[in-house]
Structures are given as C-alpha cells and as structure tokens.
Amino acid sequence: MNRYLKLVHMEIHRFRYVLGSLMGITMIFQISALIWQVNSKLSMDRETAKQFPESLFSQISFHEIVFSIQFWFIIPILVSIAVLSLYVFLIWYRDWFGRNTFIYRLLMLPTARRHIYLAKLTAILTFVFSLVAFQLLLLVIEKLIFNMIVPADRIQSSHFSDVIAANQAFKELIPRAFDQFVFSYGLGIMALIIIFTAILIERSYRMVGIVYAALYVFVCVFAVVFPLLSLGIDRSNAYLYPEEIFGIVFGICAVLLAASVWLGFRLLSKKIAV
C-alpha cells in the first residue's frame, strides 16, 4: 500500500508540468475570452446607447456571457482531453522507449507488480478529476472577475447550474445527476482499463500482440454494444424492459472490467518483457 502510494506520487510528479500547462492554457483562454467578451459587450452597449440610451441599463448575466463564448471555453478542454488521451498510452510506452528504460526499474521494485498498474490508473484518474475540479474552481474565479468588471447595477445574478448548462462541454463533464456522473465516468474508467490491458498485451507479445490487442478491444466493444442492439433497446416491442437490458449490459461491463484487470495484472507479473 505504502509503495503503491509512492508510485502514484512518482507518476503524478512526472506529469506535473504538463498538467500545470493544461491548467494554465485553460485559465488563459477562458479568462481572456471572458474579459474580452464583457468589454466588447459594454462598449457595444455604449455605441447603441447613442441611439437607444436604455441599453446602458440592460442586464448582463454571467451564464449568458459563458454561453456566447462557449467556443473559447471548449478549446482548452478539448486540448486537455486530447493530451490526456495520448498520455494514456504514453504513461506506459515512455517507460520502454528512449534513452532510459525506466520499466526495468519499475518491474524490479520489491513490490507486487499490480501496484505499477494501479498507480498508472490512479494517476490518469487523478489528472482527469483535478482538471475537472480546476475547471469548477476557475468558474468561481471567472464569476468574481465578471462581477468586478461589470457595473454592479447591470449584473443579473445567474445560478451555477445555468452556467454549467450554458456550455456543451460542461454538461458532459459535470453532469447534474449523480447516476449520469457514475455512468459517464464508469464507462470512461472501463475504457481506460481495457486500453491499459490492450497495451500490456502488445508489450507482452509484441508484433503478434498488436493483433491480439486489437482483437481484445474489438471483443470488449462488441460485448457491450451487441446486447444493446440485439435486445432492441431502441424498439418499443422488445422482449425485455429497457431497465432489464441495462441490467444485462451492466453485468457484462462488470465481467469485462474484472477480466481486464485480472488479465492486466497477470500479464504484468508473468508475461511482460522489457
């Protein structure tokens, strides 16, 4: 347990600059878009006021501004997603390739090798959740900035859930309903574990392993998607109720998850080659 935590710390430490940069990019994009948008709105209102003075008293709400600059908010989020998706592979492959082969050291640590797997998994999840948390924090800061630069008498208060709803990406990343949250992130974690196991298959069997890994991923996807389609979740005359079909799929996911983790641990302890 102790060594597992040390490994997690090590993995996070190695990614700290990238993670920091992603947060920095997000902050710069969003805050500058916000300030720019508010300022142009205010100056536009002053223009309009020459003809229609009442526009100087129109209300401005934070969530409307966020809605109007969605694009600039989403770009850094997409960049973060792309970088993290790439790092899911790199977190393993960087230890094999290059001038140093850190995987030698990792595999020779006097600890169960599953800790290496779990540490990398934990690290990725930590990155995801810390970026999401950072985004939430950033929204609070952005609202403060908004309150500072917009004249107090023109601020129309907006609810936090309206702000979330104002951006497509926020709606997906920060679901309002808890079961939706569990569903999205559960599916994400499962995909992550399946990819990890596929990487380990490739690392264990090399050239032939690529075929095995592709096959494995295909089987996993098929096992989840096929029952949904064949049992007719989209048909009203299906034999089973939608809840029952979801139950079956949930069961399949649980089995896949357990099998993937088990296979990953086993490959790492018995089959992996440096």
Binding site: R3, R14, F102, Y104, L107, M108, P110, V274
Partner: protein, 229 residues
C-alpha cells in the same frame, strides 16, 4: 546460489536460449562470456523476471522468483533505468524509498569514489558517468547477489579502471556476482568462474584457477579452443 536449470526461450519460433543450465555461487565472481547476440543479456533479464522463459527453472537460494527476490538480487543493466528528468540525488532517493536494503552511506561512498555530482540531471550524463551511476544504484543495495550486464563496454579507459577497482573492493566482497562480457580483457584475473556461451547455448563452464592449474590455460585460451573448433 543462483541456479539456472534447462532454460529455453524462443521468439517467433527462433531459439534465443536452448537448454541453458549453470550456477553462480555466492562469494564468487561468475562471468558469462560470449559474442553479442549469444543470449547473455537475455539470461540476466530472465533471472530478474524481465523476460519470460518458455521452459526451465530459475532458483535463487532454492527459491523461485518473487517480489522479495528483488531485495536479494540487484541488477545493473548496460543503460540507464531512471527517468532522465530526475537529478542523480532524486534517483538515489527513489531507490531509498522503495528498497528496504538500500544503504545511504554506501551510496554516498560510491558517489564520492566515482566523483559524481548529485545535483546533475540524469539525462545529462555521459556514457561513462551513466555506467558509474548505474553501479551506484546497484551496489548501494545490500543484496546478496549482483548481476551486471556488460559493465565495461563502450566506456573510456579510466572509467573502466575505476569500475574494475570496485571488483576487488569490499563492495563486492562476499556477494555473488554474475556479469556478462564480450571481451574478457582486463577482468581475466578478477573472475572465479567462466561460462562460455555460443548461439544461445552454454559450451563450457569452468573454474578459472582450476583450468590454469590443471591445463595451464588462460580464459582466452579456452575461448580460442571453443570458437575455433
């Protein structure tokens, strides 16, 4: 004692190792000799569980490999195994964090002996310095066995001399050492036992002093016999 029994390994139907058996005793320096590609490194990696074997058995003091073996056997590969972004001192700290057998005083002694700068980045070291740092990482663990892969290859003369000095010091004393080399050169007098390999098999395994006594042959003489026949 490290025992390798009937070990075989193949990759894409090609034999990498074929029925390899030998032992490396504690308190002795055993040397795997063979040209590049003979399978020496693969043997070391297999002993450390870094490369799975198809057939055979590897025992360390009668026990099969498990996680505790890594506190008992240290492996010094022929290249760096630490993230390049770390400083040397951070690498040592990493080792201290994970290995209960790590001896900080010994690490310090070795860093001084090799004149390494703890504040340097691992990625900035030259090949000779990297080899020395690898030795620090391996030898500062208080293990009973040390495996070294080509500790002398591709390194300047003075680094080689310095590394050879380690072999006749208390840092090696009483441990079992298993090293590989493709040129026996300056370590001829250092080793107790030679295991000569060719194309994934072991062709001779002998005690060096015995062969000198009984046959008046040097290790190079025996190698010449093997490779010319």
């Amino acid at each position: 004692m490290i025992e390798v029994k009937n070990m075989s390994k193949s990759y894409l139907r090609r034999h990498v190792l074929k029925d390899v058996s030998f032992t490396a005793e504690k308190g002795q320096i055993t040397c795997l000799i063979g040209i590049n590609g003979a399978g020496k490194s693969t043997i070391l990696k297999s002993i450390m569980g870094l490369s799975p074997i198809k057939k055979g058995q590897i025992l360390v003091d009668g026990q099969p490999l498990d996680k505790l073996t890594y506190e008992k056997v240290a492996f010094i590969p022929d290249h760096l195994t630490m993230p390049l972004g770390m400083k040397l001192a951070e690498g040592l700290q990493f080792m201290a964090d994970f290995y209960t057998n790590w001896e900080p005083s010994r690490a310090e002694e070795l860093m001084d002996f090799f004149q390494l700068d703890a504040l340097e980045k691992i990625g900035n070291m030259s090949k000779g310095t990297a080899a020395k740092y690898n030795l620090v990482l391996g030898l500062a663990q208080k293990t009973e066995y040390v495996l070294m892969d080509e500790p002398f290859s591709g390194i300047d003369l003075f680094s080689r001399e310095l590394i050879a000095e380690v072999f006749s010091s208390h840092l090696i004393e009483d441990r079992g050492v298993l090293l590989t080399t493709h040129e026996i050169g300056e370590i001829e007098q250092l080793i107790d036992k030679a295991v000569i390999m060719q194309k994934g098999t072991i062709v001779r395994e002998f005690n060096c002093e015995e062969v000198r006594s009984a046959e008046g042959k040097s290790i190079v003489d025996v190698m010449r016999e093997v490779y010319r026949s």
